[in-house]
């Protein structure tokens, strides 16, 4: 299994949540201090590189008009990482292509990063979260249709090498598409698609792309993976669905003892509890299918929204959206989910929330230095041992795990540069 360090570049220096209506869309940017923001970019970039040193892969995403993710142009950060990193795979998950007006520009950006990184790009695409149809002024109706037309056009732009082609589609129009550079990987970088519901997963499976899902827990994830496998098989791709076509994003925190793990896990909950967004931003008309909205009018609630009201480490672990504890505990939690959903090949470790959490409650940077990233890495290969044999990263992971057990993490974990120390 591959482990990915996922950071959202959150901006943690916020007023108390009761002083604003929404952390997204409408939070005034006068709150944002560019000096602090520059230091945060340095820090998050360095954390990705630490993760790379620990044998992890790198994942980033894109959001707009929000303090939760100050990465509104993810390809820019990706370009920086392409030069700063040396070996890690670089996953952007993803480009919000239902909201991007120029799919060919997206194809160019991704091809450029692929060349810059000498073929380390994993190109992810998303529809775009509901809160961002306003920042993008993007119609929330027919987003799926736009996403798929854009994706097909991007793939065609990547794979056409004999001069311009035209595209006169339903949503996008081009007369001469002929991108430079072409991709480094041939025929094109691996494609990832994210979803939090089964409805689109069958289609993703039919196309054979990597299916990622975020915080969907035991049954939600199984439903998505089952739909993916069904789509894969019905498209004639064979009975065996490779585990590396499936990815799961969870909050992960391991520590040598339960008390430290608990303290770290509490900070991770920031990812859930900070997402204060009013319904009119979270559910624009057309984003959720009609029947889903009918259910909501009858009182149904999104599982994550319901969880947010009484977020707890225990509840998160029970729901399968967090793995937290000692290495053995984390291993057991992961195995339980892994077996329940039928396996997956990528663990996307949501590490970003713990950083602002650390800052907000004053615990400070030591948490970052010994945080979830390398410790979790120590666990993943061990789990992989059972499934796929030992690879180089597994050996390294065992060393980290051993160090964890001996309470000697700092011997194997790169300290952050001195400028981050308080």
């Amino acid at each position: 299994m591959k482990a990915w360090h996922f950071s959202e570049n959150a901006y943690p220096y916020l007023p108390p949540a009761d002083q604003y209506d929404s952390i997204r869309v409408s939070l005034p940017n006068r709150i944002y201090d560019p000096e602090k923001g520059a230091a945060l970019y340095d820090r998050f970039l360095d954390e990705w590189l630490i993760a790379e040193d620990e044998g992890m892969e790198i994942m980033l995403n894109e959001h707009h008009q929000t303090a939760t993710c100050v990465d509104p142009a993810a390809p820019l950060v990706l370009a920086a990482l392409a030069r700063l990193s040396k070996k890690a795979r670089l996953l952007i998950l993803g480009n919000p292509i239902a909201n991007r007006r120029q799919p060919v520009r997206v194809a160019e950006e991704m091809a450029m990063v692929d060349v810059l990184s000498r073929g380390r790009l994993e190109a992810g695409f998303v529809r775009g979260v509901p809160y961002e149809v306003l920042p993008a002024n993007s119609n929330p109706v027919r987003m799926n249709e736009r996403e798929w037309e854009a994706l097909d056009l991007i793939v065609k732009a990547w794979t056409t090498h004999d001069g311009p082609f035209s595209h006169e589609g339903r949503f996008f129009h081009y007369r001469a598409v002929n991108i430079w550079p072409r991709c480094y990987q041939q025929p094109h970088p691996p494609i990832w698609i994210s979803t939090t519901s089964p409805s689109g997963a069958a289609h993703v499976g039919a196309r054979g792309f990597v299916q990622a899902t975020f915080l969907t827990g035991f049954d939600g994830t199984r439903a998505i993976y089952d739909a993916y496998r069904r789509g894969w098989r019905e498209a004639g791709r064979g009975e065996d669905v490779p585990a590396h076509r499936l990815a799961y994003a969870a909050m992960v925190y391991t520590a040598p003892n339960e008390a430290d793990a608990r303290a770290g896990a509490e900070k991770l909950l920031w990812y859930i509890t900070s997402n204060k967004v009013p319904p009119h931003f979270a559910n624009p008309p057309g984003y959720v299918p009609v029947q889903g909205n009918v259910a909501m009018l009858r009182g149904a609630e999104h599982p994550l929204s319901a969880f947010r009201k009484s977020a707890s480490v225990e509840g998160a672990i029970e729901a399968g959206i967090m793995f937290a504890g000692t290495p053995d505990q984390v291993h057991r939690q992961m195995k339980k989910l892994y077996d329940h959903v039928g396996g997956f090949g990528h663990l996307l470790i949501m590490g970003q929330a713990r950083v602002p959490g650390a800052r907000r409650d004053g615990a400070g940077h030591p948490d970052v230095r010994q945080g979830a990233v390398p410790e979790a890495q120590g666990r993943i290969p061990r789990y992989d041992d059972h499934r796929a044999g030992l690879g180089p990263s597994a050996k390294r992971g065992r060393a980290v795990r051993a160090a964890c057990r001996e309470g000697e993490q700092r011997r194997v974990i790169n300290p952050l540069p001195p400028r981050y120390a308080r």
Binding site: N137, N139, P140, V141, R142, H280, N293, V294, L297
Partner: protein
Amino acid sequence: MPRSVIAIAGVELELFEQGEGPPILFLHNGGGFFPEQPFVSLLSARHRLIAPSHPGFGRSSLPDWIDSADDIAYVHLELMDRLGLAQADIVGCSIGGWIAAELATKSPERVRRLVLVGPEGVKIGPPDKLDIPDIYAMPGDELERISYHDPDIMQIDPSRLTDEELAIIVRNRETTALLVWEPYMHNPKLRHRLHRVTAPTLFLRGESDGLVSDAYLAGYARLLPNARVTTIKAAGHAPHVEQPDVFVRTVLAFLETGAVS
């Protein structure tokens, strides 16, 4: 109220008809058409009331090609052809008014008199200020507050509605978003076409309407050769619902005599 379905340009168009007399084509607002609302029987007492559900509203289908008020105006023009209406009075509310205005610019001769009730559709003010408050950037209770004179009596209770009725409400909201999202609540071309409208036109505004302002309607009316504006008290953006008696009296006086109260 008799309901039928008529196929036009890929749309299965739901159509309500009631009453006899000179025809009135009623074009509903983003909330949809509900024949049980009191204004319907009042308006059809001595007129033939023809009320289609716009594509994507009510039980009308929504083909892929439709995404604007302009598109829907063509569907309703075709509906007039099918019904053999060489000319009709048209009453349109909110986005129904926008659709009516689009229709009247395309075939002015088909419209005898035109009533636009709190219509959107044009851009009047400066670029850095929305003419119509952003209904997608405000809490639901705030939207109700600015939409109605008395929001309390306009509440819906989902527990009293069937799944199909709720689905229609949800779908009406969805199609409204499709039509008005961008450019927000207007067609930049429309203001340059409104000079073609020949029908005497009445703009109606609920006095408590927080969506469509006095200044907006005054500016809108100036774009038509022969238009006046009047207001209805104790009503918001849907005066036909909040003040059905006054609404129908005002509309019929204008349609039948050209008088404006």
